[in-house]
Symmetry: C2
Subunit: 747 residues, 2 copies
């Protein structure tokens, strides 16, 4: 339903000079609240009230129609009943009003009539070039310029700052506002999206990427409604150095159900979301706390190019906190290198004799006697050449201390050291408690940096910042090398431009197919034709032919029935492994044929292909190596997704797979293999030969490439197992399934 | 170093009627702070200042010796230099003073002389029956009765309540006090342990188990210094229904190093700590936030017997929050069952038409119009028979609202519904923000329940409470059945009483052994003699003998060299698998013998046993089944620990093991197998036969039992692989290592 809302449209939406509240009434708390928010937060433009009765509302004059308003109107905030929304839009469009917030509920989220109504307003908006935020959304808060067409109470003081917030949930906006205030984190814009009938999350993110007041973007997502546009905007944000942090719900089955009830949106497969976000450099978090704390850290001044690497130098006044930090650093993949000799010597020179010089550093409780100790230690550690980022454990005072001037001087001195530090300094408090009103003033008075809220969330934020910085460097390197980005239209379910890969690929060579499953030998032949090594395979029509095949291939062998629909052959007893001799082959032939006949006689197991009767195939039995899986499936949101995993029967038991949205590169596939928990098995040891990982990645890249070239009707292409034994890489079994039609826009 | 401090001693320590501050001086902030804390928090008893100079200190009269004090002294708080501590103890003991807090540092934590000094005071304390908290500790805060011999500033107001806090870190005490205040969580006692030279964490926990003011216990641990006593006290706490929550650091290698520097304590293997805590019903958390939030939830009134089960009914005013809750519920193993039809009907009767009746429930933004909606929905959901616990998403006001009386009435009504609920109700806020001073008063005025801090930490706390409740039910059931508890002295490294298992076991049958490794065939023979099924094995002195053995056993076979010190035979090429015929066996015999000779020629690989020359053994080659590992090792803190895991070469790659401290039962071993990520493989499917799990657990129980019976010199006993194929369970390889001496106290 979404249409492309241009940046021009969003500028009008978020920077109106005058606003009309349409459907204003004293009876509605929303109406009163929105009016108050506009009036009390410094909006300098005109606010007009419109209600069909006219008269006075909220103590001010009300107009009975938009057309009666004497001056120009840039934004209409619409609170009329659902069936009256379209007439308001028509009137407004005729008057030249381009931007709307529609608070009214009763659209797609209720199904039936609501869906029709929403389609109507979206089509009307498209035809007239209108920007609409909503329907079923509370509006927005443009804190940068003090414009708040927003229906809910706004906690005071609203803090202006560098974090843009976009939420697919109205009720969470209040929680997020409260939390940002408690953290002393300022926001630039907060938008409550509603149903996204016209303006989507991707549109608002695009606006924020271009907004100079916004340094980082925090998203609460139920679903990504415009995957391709989102991917494009996210890639642009990454290149621009504007971090996106996302709390994407729907990790659980339950959340998926709830999200459907809530907005009518389909939540895609969660592991795919995870992989997509990672590929796009979007930092995914699981809590509202991490959402804001991580975005605030990434929005900080000292990190213009992100964090250089995972090596932390940690300065604390507490051994216990040092230990918690060390544990959390390991969780986050961060490192705590030993200090350089000159650092250690300098620290030894200032610390009391009973202190231990180590990273993380505990300057000890002596800091209570010499309050400058922490700051002086910070200065020394910040000079250590082996450290990428310095972490300082420090609390803001919560209330006026006994000696405020002395404490203020100590903090101001530390502020100076942080400003002068050759490396980014992240200040982290022990636990997540509010920055109190006193603390806020104290921080401003001493120029103290943003205090990240607690070790637990702070270390997560630092880990995320390091990962984001690496993703940005990788993306810039890829762009410099001219590599294609993942999530491009080559693999997308929608979109109109054919990609380079599609233009290059011989799609036409695959003949027209009915929907369904290809038998293994047919799939294997296609793979072999495209350069994927496949285990030698012979078809045998009789026991004698099977024995002959086995003798040519060499014992031990495997017998399988290949049969339309019998995707999981091992489930129906149609596979016999490790047959050592002719007698075993003859016996197995009878068994496998009988099992396959039983299976194909079961209509539930037969897909509707014209593939004919079961065939028996003979292959050498591979043993002593490692079995991988490499599969490509079409995700409804993100298109073709490659999954690699270890271990035949283990793959489902362990769920140990790594995903990549296509297209991807052999290098990236190598990194995916490295992410597997079982990656150590591939590297050899304990009697297994190390796999030739370059070769494995190359073969999987061919499989991925073939999947792209097979076109939009490909549902899935899976090699399982992909056998690896040292330098040998071989598909032992393959499965291709086709859908009846390609998704819209895919060739 | 620790000695057993009786409960009587700790009562004197924590409930003194008069206190002497020894080493008081105006020059020390610690001295001033401790004096102020005693004076300003309502301690009603006498406080005496002692300094060798006499005169006036902190504006009060100072005595030059303890003996000059006119009245009785129950507790001496000692701040003198390290070498003066023992003389103070001597003088005090002679005067009949039983209890001491020693603030002074410069003991075991600095090594060398400090270790000797600490030993002296511990021995003196033991000889005179003194209780000493410290040295190198800040003292304690007995909030229940207002006694605060504690050296650091105490945030105001200090909240009195049900959580006892024990910390192996002085500096973290301030962070914990601040956080408890921010959460509006009251404490009973906070003890800063210091070096635990006399009074240990286990002693203080024991005191808190008996303290009626304490309902839950929060621990910050670097190491458990008295494992057996800790285990005994933890079991008692579990039976008594007094939850223990522990933040145990040392999960990372770095933290282990830091903890050693900090206190001189060895941090044991972290996975073992994890298993021990789980077996003892100690809730382990990873952050200070979770420590306090979880302890506070478990200390709440509505949970006298814990939470009945994992089924939550969730009531919120927010779709977005519902989705986050659903995701987090899945992480925590909690369930969100569909509401009963009568619940759904009753909810439909009160909710607006556009609301969706589902669990988690979003009563929608209509709550802003009808403020009673949330409370009425809560009442309905609390009556649902399919729900164990109700979660209510709700915020306390942070500042006075526009209509305080109306809001107060709404909250008071909800308080009434919570009190009347037939199931426990846990109130959770959206994010972790402070309960403000206004919120604290509001909560007291409306009788509102404790608000758990944020969905992220709140769902963790609920999950922990459900797991703790289950652990408690299990422990009570085991006690009723007379089962032996894990961590009993049977397996402990210390302790003096022989256990039932040891009394029953034929330890003496194992002949005296030098330290080192037993060859596989010798270990296998011992296992077989104790009822563990072992793969048939034949020794072969020549190629011809090997072929004969293979023919008797049946092809394919395995050839191995068994050789002293060649523990990882596959690493030295001394194993040949899947030999199909006589020619292969003959060739393999030469290879294996040569490899074994090379290995035994390498002194680094040869342990000092009198085991003789390498031998070649022949075994049938097992294939098509599943390989497990079952190993018992001696942990320095907790004694014998059983590890079970899946998968031959996979075990190290995946780290997929489950641990149990011995003794344990076959039932418990079955549960451990069920915890493995790869457990699904054991249950069969995709061509693998389901394992007979009862049989597997029984065989592993025999291995565990044998390990116990082998006595204190056993270092490790490992079966790897333990082959499982349907009903067949067989040890394919075994390894036993011996240490030179049993740990102190172990037979």
């Amino acid at each position: 339903m979404s249409v492309d809302a241009g940046v021009t449209g969003l500028r009008a939406l978020f920077h109106p000079r005058s606003i009309a509240l349409v459907g204003a009434t004293d009876k509605s708390g929303w109406s009163r609240g929105t009016y108050d928010n506009l009036r009390s937060h410094g909006f300098g433009g005109d606010v007009y009230l419109v209600t069909h009765r006219g008269g006075r509302v909220h103590g001010a004059r009300a107009y009975s129609r938009l057309g009666d308003i004497p001056g120009p109107v840039d934004l209409a905030y619409v609170m009329v009943p659902p069936q009256a929304v379209l007439p308001v839009l028509r009137e407004g469009a005729d008057l030249g009003i381009q931007a709307y917030v529609v608070l009214t509920a009763g659209f797609a989220e209720i199904g039936g009539d609501g869906v029709r109504r929403e389609k109507e307003i979206a089509e009307f908006a498209l035809s007239r070039g209108l920007s609409i935020l909503g329907p079923n959304g509370n509006g927005y808060i443009n804190a940068t310029v003090g414009i708040m067409p927003y229906g809910l109470p706004i906690p005071v003081p609203l803090l202006r700052g560098p974090v843009g917030v976009v939420l697919q949930s109205g009720a969470l906006a209040s929680a997020v506002l409260t939390f940002t205030q408690a953290r002393n984190v300022g926001i630039s814009l907060l938008a409550s999206m509603g149903n996204e009938s016209v303006v989507s999350v991707a549109d608002v993110v695009e606006h924020l990427v271009d907004d100079p007041a916004t340094k980082a973007i925090a998203l609460f997502l139920e679903s990504v409604r415009q995957p391709e546009k989102f991917a494009r905007v996210a890639r642009r944000a990454l290149r621009a150095g504007k971090p996106i942090v996302a709390l994407k719900v729907g990790r659980s089955d339950h959340a998926r159900r709830t999200a459907e009830a809530h907005t009518g949106a389909l939540t895609g497969n969660d592991a795919v979301s995870d992989a997509v976000f990672r590929q796009l450099g979007v930092v995914r978090v699981r809590s509202l706390e991490d959402l804001i704390i991580t975005a605030a850290l990434l929005a900080q001044g000292p990190l213009p190019d992100g964090l250089r690497g995972p090596r932390l130098g940690v300065v604390t006044p507490s051994g216990g906190a040092s230990e918690i930090i060390a544990d959390r650093a390991q969780d986050e993949g961060l490192r705590l290198p030993a200090f350089a000799p000159e650092t250690a010597a300098a620290l030894a020179g200032i610390l009391p004799a009973f202190a231990t010089v180590a990273n993380p550093l505990d300057v000890t409780g002596y800091v209570l006697i010499d309050r400058t100790l922490l700051g002086r230690a910070l200065e020394i550690v910040a000079a250590d050449p082996g450290v990428d980022t310095v972490v300082l454990l420090s609390e803001l005072p919560r209330a006026e201390p006994a000696d405020p001037d002395a404490i203020r001087a100590v903090y101001a001195a530390t502020s100076g050291r942080v400003a002068a530090s050759p490396r980014p300094v992240v200040v982290v408090s022990n636990t997540l408690t509010d920055v109190t009103a006193y603390g806020r003033e104290f921080q401003a008075a001493t120029g103290y940096p943003c205090v990240t809220g607690g070790i637990e969330h702070g270390m997560h934020a630092i880990g995320a910042a390091v990962r984001w910085s690496q993703a940005r460097r990788d993306a810039l390197a890829r762009a410099a090398a001219g590599e294609q980005e993942p999530g491009s239209p080559a693999s997308g379910p929608g979109g109109s431009r054919p990609s380079r890969a599609l233009r290059a690929g011989p799609v036409a060579r695959v003949p027209a197919q009915p929907a369904g499953v290809w038998a293994e030998d047919r799939a294997a032949a296609l793979l072999a034709a495209r350069g994927v090594p496949v285990v030698p395979t012979r078809t045998a029509a009789s026991p004698a032919a099977a024995v002959h095949a086995a003798e040519v291939l060499g014992y031990p062998v495997v017998l399988k029935a290949v049969s339309p629909g019998a995707a999981h052959k091992s489930d129906i007893g149609a596979v016999r492994l490790a047959l050592p001799d002719a007698a075993a082959v003859r016996a197995a032939f009878q068994d496998v044929r009988a099992a396959a006949r039983r299976a194909t006689a079961d209509p539930a197991r037969v897909a509707g292909t014209a593939d004919g009767q079961p065939r028996i195939i003979v292959q050498p039995y591979r043993t002593g190596g490692i079995e991988l899986i490499a599969g490509v499936v079409r995700d409804p949101a993100w298109g073709l997704v490659l999954a690699v995993g270890l271990g035949g029967v283990w793959v489902e038991a362990l769920g140990d797979t790594a995903l990549r949205v296509l297209p991807t590169s052999a290098d990236e596939i190598g990194r995916a293999l490295g992410e597997l928990r079982g990656a150590a098995v591939l590297r050899g040891g304990h009697g297994t030969e190390p796999a030739d990982l370059g070769r494995v990645a190359d073969v999987i890249a061919r499989i991925a490439d073939l999947a792209i070239k097979l076109g939009g009707r490909l549902e899935s292409l899976e090699v399982n197992p992909l056998y690896v034994h040292g330098p040998q890489v071989e598909a032992l079994d393959a499965l291709i399934t086709w859908r009846a039609q390609a998704p819209a826009g895919v060739v």
